[in-house]
Symmetry: D3
């Protein structure tokens, strides 16, 4: 497995990448990789309640703030920030949006794509994002046989950790040690001022997954980790 030179994170909402994958992204960019964060919506309805408490708030202003915060968080981990602004609660992805997504996958030719789990009983948009990313990845890379359009090398696909993992069918296959870059993840989380209450929650998650990673690897240096579930097998040249 060669190291990722280009990583794409696709989230249903503007902040998903921060809590679930900012560490792995920061590790990649610290090692010279290119990283792109793609948000399918700003999460302006479902997860921006703090902003809506402001008097005279408008949806345009909520989106503007979420864009700024997303950009700032992405910058903290060395990633580019993009948003398709497809709307949330519910997020819907028709043929045109699927083509947009596929074109971005083709353009970026990522080695790794990170996205949501197939199920999430607590969020109607996450499974929609999952399903669209799976399709876009297949449409961009073909079925492994000669096809009538340009294809890219099939990216590795990982699911990031949902809020209530067992109820989403999430079983970790991969832990990434994010100890060396944990301050960057903290900076990214700090940028998401609208969801401040999640910072402590996800710091503890990183410690806990660090604990799991230590037990599994026997490497006592791991302090913080993120968990992922790999969807298609890896191909190794040796064990």
């Amino acid at each position: 497995m060669s190291e990722a030179k280009s990583i794409l994170v696709v989230g249903a909402h503007a902040a998903d990448f921060v809590w679930r994958a900012a560490g792995a992204v920061a590790v990649a960019t610290a090692r010279g990789a290119r990283a792109t964060v793609l948000c399918l919506s700003y999460g302006e309805r479902g997860e921006s309640g703090e902003l809506w408490k402001e008097p005279n708030q408008t949806v345009e202003n909520v989106k503007r703030i979420r864009h700024q915060q997303g950009e700032q968080a992405a910058a903290a981990i060395g990633a580019e920030f993009r948003c398709l602004d497809l709307g949330d609660y519910p997020l819907e992805i028709g043929r045109e949006a699927l083509e947009q997504l596929t074109d971005i996958v083709r353009e970026l030719e990522p080695d790794v794509i990170l996205t949501h789990t197939e199920k999430d009983p607590f969020n109607p948009d996450h499974p929609v994002a999952h399903s669209a990313v799976l399709k876009a990845r297949q449409l961009a890379s073909g079925a492994g046989v000669a096809s009538g359009f340009k294809t890219i090398k099939p990216p590795r696909l990982y699911l990031f950790e949902p809020h209530q993992p067992e109820l989403c069918g999430f079983v970790p296959t991969t832990f990434v040690d994010i100890t060396p870059v944990f301050e960057r993840k903290q900076a990214a989380m700090a940028a998401m001022a609208a969801q401040k209450y999640l910072q402590r929650y996800y710091t503890e998650l990183a410690e806990r997954r660090g604990n799991h990673a230590r037990r599994i690897s026997g490497n006592s240096e791991v302090r913080y980790a993120e968990a992922f579930q790999r969807v298609v097998p890896e191909v190794l040249s040796h064990l």
Copy 2:
């Protein structure tokens, strides 16, 4: 994930390692690792029918021949060969045999252990081996907390591919490219003269898994591969 310096393959019978893991072992030894093949029995009853066609055959002689063949096959891939001679059809592993197995795991401190799947509707001994290896690995490495006995670093655990994978619940998570060492695997297979009819079968399997690995990785150099299922997650320092 650092490269394996020591690999242990545990098979229920003397020939299991050849068909299922000889390629991955040969890759490891070619890169300087130590490899040990541990057979729990000689498979003298369940899979030595060809030998029993000889007139006046005895169980001692069957075991002797199986030992020679196993040793020769192991030598072809640079591995040491050992057999606990616990009997087959049915293989039974009591407390004493479990301790023997645990002691060997402690002695070798392998980075990687390879063994059978949890289920196999076509073989009564494979699940028994699986269960014993899981226990021995845990007894040797502890539960990740301070314990009252010497523990080793927890080895990575992979299951090798059974004869009818779907019916054994086998889902590959890892393909190892064995193209550079495929001749060695062929030599190992050739040593198992008692089960000659399997050589073509497993050559084709290696090609087919090579096909799968090519499609997944987009690496057109892979011609032969072996498939494995990883049981505990990996811990990475980056993607």
Copy 3:
């Protein structure tokens, strides 16, 4: 777990609630709760064959009869009856219908929602209803974080028993003792004159589930029960 004060049953067709949940609804209304039955369609094509045997039958008349029967059955168990009349075989739920459904969930603020299983190899409309109810429940109650719209307390979600449970992936987590109200369920079933042949079938089911409930609880008073599968965990203040 506090007792339900408001219950919503969503069925794909006009009669689903009768066979699958009339007992649990009757128990609730007998204890003072409000109950609403919402049918997504009248089932005028897929399950009204008896009515179509009448000469000169029209779809309007079939719907009219199904409405009367549904209303009568709902009345027998103390529930209100509504129908969205979205058509059946196939039932399709677009954005607008999803919003209607979400608005009803918001309006009723039910403590409990009952609906179909995720899979049903014998009915194309049941999974469509399941999926829409899951989404509507999430859209109405938010993701548990502050959102930009009014949210209701997340209702408990139960699936009711399908016709061939194992093939629909149904595994009961909850039995409701309907012994005290079984006559009401019988009255509700009697109202569905178009599907008379099902009355004995579902009486026996209630006895069988009563048998199961007796064995599980050790309570020999249970004679009739309905089985449900809870989808999100319960939160208790004590065991």
Copy 4:
């Protein structure tokens, strides 16, 4: 289980039926059954790369060639060939296409339908085909109760073997011995000149499944077999 007199194979692309079910179809037609191959698309984008290497190739010409090849392959196994030409990569099936498909199921009244698995991480069109076939089969045969439209006897439903079975959740329940008709399957495969490289692959698959079938049945006459997964149970008059 009475023998199939009419078989319908539904593939997402023009060649799917050849690799996955040509043997079972040839067995059926050799015994006097009627067989129909229905392709939802020509696979003109996703699996016709060889044809697109020709200079000045057009999509009409690719479709024309794929039609000819499909017809020829179908003829080799005694089947009729039809194509809905709905487009591929991505294949999309709206209400109208679903009705077309349902009408064909009603018209043919097949005893057996063969189609793709529910999941396929390597092909975006296969699950779309699966889902549409399930719906069409239900819409044509009703829910087992009296309905307001003409229904046919519910066809047995089998999934055929995908390229990477374990990753698609495929677990075989049924092997069909295709030894007597294997030459016909080879002729059908030879007709698909655009995907010549798959012929050896699927010959070996047939041998391997033959090996599995021999071990399971103890019938040493089986040399070639195809594997299928039955979705709804069988009803037997005796074991």
Copy 5:
């Protein structure tokens, strides 16, 4: 799939075969097959409570009565009755008992074996029986390769329906139409006087499974059926 000429039913207790498989056995014997019922214990502790209500009851007498009843029930469906008398609650099967069981499988060379499910949260003995039957079947028939002992043709293996199917992981793959022999099943049930209360329960189950079988097959002649789960795939010469 050729018709079974010899059927073996293995139950943990003396009465299991009656409720769960008497119909399928009666169908077989009515068609000329040989059927053997093998009980691993008399169920003298776990399911003979009615007998223990007699004053001065002894375990020998309970076993004697259970033997008579089992024999009578077996006679009603044309089967031979045997019991290994290994004790129940808990049933334990050591090496010697496993050999006894294997010898019987070898002796009878059954085409079909019927036994309990792998899990049963309501009975500690059923999974023990399941596991022993799986092993004995494999030890008697070998692994499909040449072995050093006499092997029989691998029998088809079916699990019969447990009391609470979903909680035991039971998913039917096969229904047997027992309409023509239902009176024999009733006679067999009547023989088990110690568990009289189960007769109505299992009559209704047979009707319900008959209902399922009718819906699946479209054959309106089926009135009574038994459901089974096939464990290893079938090998067919045609669909």
Copy 6:
């Protein structure tokens, strides 16, 4: 579901009950229930490493200290402490130990039993405990039919949360709000001086499960919770 008057927690080692169930036990005793903690071993080998760092440590002394700590922790939550002292790493439970366990279940007649999950890739003793508790519960309560021995009312069975839940197949079905008694759980944890490093870990787990419980219930008062998986269904008199 009536409230538990008697609770039994069975752990493989002396400290398991503290981390995994002390809160639910404290809630029960605060409401007047009787609680018993039963440890199958002292965990003297596998999880007492801190104690073995003392010079001249002996196994008797380790057990003595573990007994004191267990007793003190149990006292903090109002429970009685017992230990069968069967040895750990590996824990083995033969016929005699199973009878001891069954007798204790019969003696206590608990309404609720709490124990380990069926799988745990990080601990060889937890699944052994799980399996023995399941059997003992069944042997004590019978199969729901009249049996030849005294039976108790079948206790509700819950699995408590393992260290790495997803890898153990743990899916929560039940959260218990332990906010009112959280200080008692802290006192119990403080008593386990040999595993001090786990106190912060399990405090955070309680907060995280509290977060989950808040989101699910919408009850903002929940600050600390424990998660459990219910194994057999509940029987309710109403929803």
